[in-house]
C-alpha cells in the first residue's frame, strides 16, 4: 500500500466520521442555536476531507476544480442556511437552552 493510498483512506474515513459527528451533534445539542454549530462543521470539514481524498486520484485539473467548486458551494450554502436560521430564530425570540434543561421540555412546534 503506497503512502498516497494510506493518506487517501485516512482522509476518506476521517471525512465520513466528521459527517457522523456532525449528525451526532445535531442529535445531542440541546437547542436550535447550538445545533447550527454542528451543522456547519460537518458540512465544511466532512465534505472537505472527502473532496481532498478524491482529488488525490483525479486525472485532470478540470475535474479537481469541479470537486473544489462543489465543496465551496456546499460550504456557502450551509453557512447561509445556518445564518438564516439563526437570524430568523433571533427575530422570533426563540429562547436559549438554560443549564440543566433538556430538549424534552420543548413541545413540538408544528403540531
Amino acid at each position: 500500500m503506497s503512502l498516497l493510498a494510506i493518506l487517501q483512506s485516512f482522509l476518506l474515513i476521517a471525512g465520513a466520521l466528521m459527517f457522523c459527528i456532525g449528525s451526532l451533534g445535531l442529535i445531542r445539542f440541546p437547542d436550535t442555536y447550538t445545533r447550527i454549530h454542528a451543522l456547519t462543521k460537518a458540512d465544511n470539514l466532512g465534505l472537505g476531507l472527502i473532496v481532498l481524498a478524491l482529488i488525490l486520484n483525479v486525472e485532470s485539473v478540470a475535474l479537481a476544480l469541479k470537486l473544489l467548486l462543489i465543496w465551496g458551494l456546499v460550504m456557502i450554502a450551509s453557512a447561509l442556511s445556518g445564518h438564516l436560521v439563526a437570524w430568523e430564530a433571533d427575530e422570533q425570540c426563540i429562547p436559549l437552552c438554560q443549564p440543566g434543561e433538556t430538549e424534552r421540555h420543548l413541545e413540538s412546534e408544528d403540531e
Binding site: A5, A16, C20, S23, I50, A77, S81, D110
Partner: protein
C-alpha cells in the same frame, strides 16, 4: 480501494439515518430544516463516492446540482413557512 469507498459509504449512510432521526424528532421546525440541510450535504458526499465507485462521472454533475439547490429549501422555509406560522400565532 473499492472496499474503502464502501466503508466510507456505510458511515455516510449511518450519518444520513441520524439526520432522518433529527427530522423526525424535531422539536422545532428550524431543527428539521437544519437536519435536512445536513442530509443534503451527506447526499453530495455519497454522490461523489458513487462517482468513483461506479465509474460514473455524471454523478459529480448531480452532486453539483444538489449543492446549488440545497439551500433553496432553507430559504423557502425561512421566507415563507416560519414567518407565516408566527403570524398565525400572534393573531
Amino acid at each position: 480501494m473499492n472496499s474503502l469507498y464502501s466503508v466510507t459509504l456505510v458511515i455516510l449512510l449511518i450519518s444520513l439515518l441520524m439526520g432522518v432521526f433529527r427530522i423526525w424528532r424535531g422539536p422545532r421546525m428550524a431543527d428539521r430544516i437544519m437536519a435536512a440541510q445536513l442530509t443534503g450535504s451527506t447526499g453530495v458526499a455519497v454522490l461523489l463516492i458513487f462517482a468513483e465507485l461506479q465509474n460514473q462521472p455524471a454523478a459529480r454533475d448531480t452532486a453539483l446540482v444538489l449543492a446549488l439547490l440545497a439551500m433553496l429549501v432553507a430559504i423557502a422555509f425561512v421566507g415563507r413557512v416560519w414567518g407565516f406560522s408566527q403570524e398565525k400565532k400572534d393573531s
